[in-house]
């Protein structure tokens, strides 16, 4: 622990670290932190957790969770995101959500706003089942989609749906600091009633005379989808502005094309949400197999266990029983799809544990071997 802390921060260990190194002798093979967790889960150092202190329904299918993070949390920058562990149906899932609150918030809490998406089991679970008092494992804030420290050039935000969250955090942060420049904001939502964070946005629009909000409803009759003409009409000086865009892939593509054509791509900052699932190929006939750590690329068919594929490629990965009972061959799925040959179950979530002796490729896949 000592060495790890030193390596990580490049400083000598704190008194707290020295103390826990000593008390860890009492707690072995666990750590002191495992016992502190029994008293208060926010005191742990072996993992970071957050307590749900408030849930607020933004629209019929979007919910804002206010989270109080544990001791080891460090502040975020407006626009950054955080990984959140969600237990649903007994399983632990990890999802990344943008922090929607500004770092200037005074109570050390932060908020995430989650929209239940079609077929999204986990987002549905958050929107329907998470309640006040639950503890969720979280990561530290990450991401490079944030405002520069220097006074930003007059910004233009283009957002859609739950892509509002980083922009909301940035704008409220600038307001909290009392240095909001002239800001233009185009936000797309299906209807007037399901604008995520809509109430706060409209309030800001009324109270801040430098903030110009344009809400565009895409499913209320007229075609109001993003176009260069629309941009010209709503924000004539867009070519001079620093642009921050976040939303579904189709919108981001349209924006990128538009800015490329106008030759001002370098003003454009984009935040993309990556899908945690790979689409399951319909025919599942095997495909390209990549063993990331060994840097080996090969082919695997849909019946040959990945362990054999690796061995035929000249590797010697860990293995034991070769029949799926001992779990010596467990490894992690980096990306792609594999199928359990015993049950036919397809694993397509990055980070899933794969037993290589009884799993075969189902389409392309990459393993952490």
């Amino acid at each position: 622990m000592n060495d790890a802390a030193e390596a990580e921060y490049g400083t000598s260990p704190s008194i707290w670290t020295r103390l826990t190194t000593l008390t860890d002798y009492f707690a072995w093979p666990l750590r002191t932190s495992h016992y502190l967790e029994l008293v208060n889960p926010l005191w742990t150092t072996h993992k970071l957790q957050a307590r749900v202190v408030k849930v607020w329904d933004e629209t019929q299918d979007a919910r804002t969770l206010t989270l109080r993070p544990g001791m080891n949390w460090r502040g975020h920058r407006a626009g950054q995101h955080v990984r959140v562990g969600i237990p649903a149906n007994g399983k632990h899932y990890t999802r990344t959500y943008t922090i929607s609150s500004p770092p200037e918030r005074s109570d050390d809490c932060f908020t995430i706003t989650v929209k239940a998406i079609d077929k999204g089991t986990i987002s549905h679970h958050i929107v329907r089942n998470i309640k006040v008092g639950d503890y969720l494992p979280i990561g530290l804030p990450q991401g490079d989609f944030y405002l520069p420290d220097a006074q930003p050039i007059e910004p233009l935000f283009i957002t859609a749906g739950s892509g509002i969250t980083p922009a909301f955090s940035m704008i409220s942060s600038l307001i909290a600091q009392g240095r909001l420049p002239d800001t233009c904001h185009l936000h797309y939502a299906p209807h007037e009633f399901d604008v995520v964070l809509g109430k706060q946005l409209r309030e800001m629009d009324q109270q801040q005379n430098r903030y110009h909000l344009h809400l565009l409803y895409t499913r209320e009759g007229q075609d109001v989808h993003f176009s260069a003409e629309q941009l010209d009409a709503l924000c004539p000086d867009w070519k001079q502005r620093d642009v921050y865009a976040c939303g579904p892939p189709s919108l981001l593509e349209a924006i990128e094309t538009c800015f490329e054509e106008a030759g001002c791509s370098r003003n454009l900052h984009i935040e993309r949400f990556r899908a945690p699932f790979t689409e399951i190929p319909a025919d599942a006939v095997g495909g390209k197999v990549r063993f990331a750590q060994s840097d080996v690329d090969t082919e695997g068919d849909s019946e040959t266990p990945l362990l054999r594929v690796a061995e035929e490629a000249g590797m010697n990965p860990p293995h034991g029983c070769r029949m799926g009972i001992c779990h010596t061959c467990n490894t992690t799925l980096v990306s792609g799809c594999v199928r359990d040959l015993r049950t036919g179950e397809v694993l397509n979530e990055a980070g899933s544990i794969v037993q290589t002796c009884i799993c075969a490729a189902a389409g392309d896949c990459e393993l952490d071997l």
Partner: protein, 419 residues
């Protein structure tokens, strides 16, 4: 349900093709190859059904057990400390040896139970990857370290890989007599076995140490098959784990009490050294309680009367279904109540555990009646009895097999059921 042909089952296909009424196996049962495969398919169906239904209640169960165990462990340590305030030297009204010893015994028993829970119901099962499906980064087989002298990854190899794959196969499964005992007449007698009742008792008391040193490499070395330098790194790893265990139970906790006792000893006439001894002694007794319990439960798994052992020839070209059958014939259940099952780490459902080693342990009691009914239907034995019978016959076997002979291996065909 449409399912792809598994690689594991490809081997079976060729057996079925050769004809319906064929018996090519040498297992001690009167079933045709076809019937054994059908038996295997039925077990697969049970497995798939349970695995598909795992969910929130299983997660709640293991989280509760873990929280209970940790609370019990830390409380036990402080109850042991508490007992020190009732040493007669304090001179207050309750300061009598009987009071002190009662509290000390309570603390020791709590610590023993906490260690039993940790080793058996939590760590053993976590290390079997029974809880990996939850994908909870805190409860994973590859990162869990347990409260015993054996490093978890070393134990996973000798247990999950060797013992669970080669269950009860002579020459392969190191758990058949642990290299020091004769547990089946199929093992050749040698004079060293005359002492095995003594080994039996010693291993019971020092089970933790025994498990830590239970390694193929060390066993080979004793037989002169490899050099010391071959497994020196291995010994270093085991040594580090042993040192941390000793540092906790016999240095850290007793020393903390003794250090507090030093200033107090100026006012209360009691030596800090004796305080150290009391705490270290209590921890040692707790470890021994755990050792005896673990030994008793584990020895009842494969050694009571009626458990089968197998030769290498019998498992040649074994299919998954035959592997199932071997697990059933080689394992024994212990009957008892709910608490008994939890404290035994559900190893009292040894048969179910060996059929489905990575099924979460709280489900064994649910599948046990189904497996038993299935065994009945196929006229197969299902060795289940109370603890006194299972451990009694284990002990008698041990005494008998210390001497040459001991009879032919038990033959199930003599009491065959009608199919």
């Amino acid at each position: 349900m449409c399912r792809p042909v598994s690689v594991l089952r490809l081997a079976t296909a060729s057996w079925i093709c050769k004809g319906k009424v064929m018996k090519t196996h040498e297992l001690p049962v009167d079933l045709t190859d076809e019937q054994i495969e059908e038996f295997g398919r039925e077990l697969d169906a049970i497995r798939d059904e349970v695995f598909d239904s795992r969910g929130e209640r299983d997660r709640t169960y293991i989280l509760n057990v873990i929280r209970t165990q940790r609370t019990l462990a830390v409380s036990a340590r402080f109850v042991i400390y508490l007992s020190l305030f009732f040493i007669p030297a304090w001179g207050h009204v309750l300061a009598y040896w009987p009071v002190m010893l009662t509290i000390l015994a309570l603390g020791t028993a709590m610590l023993g139970i906490a260690k039993i829970l940790e080793n058996m119901e939590i760590a053993h099962n976590v290390l079997h990857a029974q809880w990996d499906w939850m994908k909870d980064p805190e409860i994973q087989s590859n990162t869990w370290e347990w409260d015993t002298m054996s490093p978890s990854d070393r134990w996973m190899h000798s247990h999950n890989v060797v013992h669970h794959t080669w269950t009860n196969v002579l020459e392969k499964d190191l758990d058949v007599g642990y290299g020091i005992m004769r547990v089946t007449p199929m093992q050749k007698w040698k004079p060293a076995f005359l002492l095995q009742p003594v080994y039996f008792i010693l291993l019971m008391l020092l089970f933790e140490e025994g498990v830590a040193l239970h390694e193929q490499a060390i066993d080979d070395h004793l037989k002169g098959k490899n050099k010391f330098s071959d497994f020196k790194p291995l010994l270093k790893r085991i040594g580090y784990k042993i040192w941390r265990q000793v540092a906790k139970d016999y240095i850290a906790w007793p020393l903390a009490a003794a250090l507090v006792a030093v200033p107090i000893s100026f006012f209360v006439d009691f030596s800090p050294l004796a305080v150290f001894g009391i705490v270290a002694g209590a921890n040692a007794v707790a470890n021994i309680i755990r050792n005896i319990w673990a030994f008793v439960i584990i020895f009842c798994g494969h050694f009571p009367a009626g458990a089968h052992n197998f030769t290498l020839k019998q498992v040649e070209g074994e299919t998954r279904a035959r592997w199932y059958l071997r697990q059933l014939l080689g394992s024994c259940n212990i009957e008892g109540g709910k608490l008994f099952h939890i404290l035994s780490g559900n190893l009292s459902h040894q048969i179910e555990h060996h059929l489905f080693p990575d099924m979460c342990s709280n489900r064994y009691k649910e599948v046990a009646p189904r497996v038993r009914a299935l065994a009945d239907r196929y006229g197969l034995p299902y060795n289940s009895a109370p603890l006194y019978r299972q451990f009694g016959t284990t002990w008698l076997n041990n005494l008998r097999l210390a001497f040459p002979g001991g009879g032919e291996p038990y033959d199930h065909r003599t009491e065959r059921a009608v199919l």
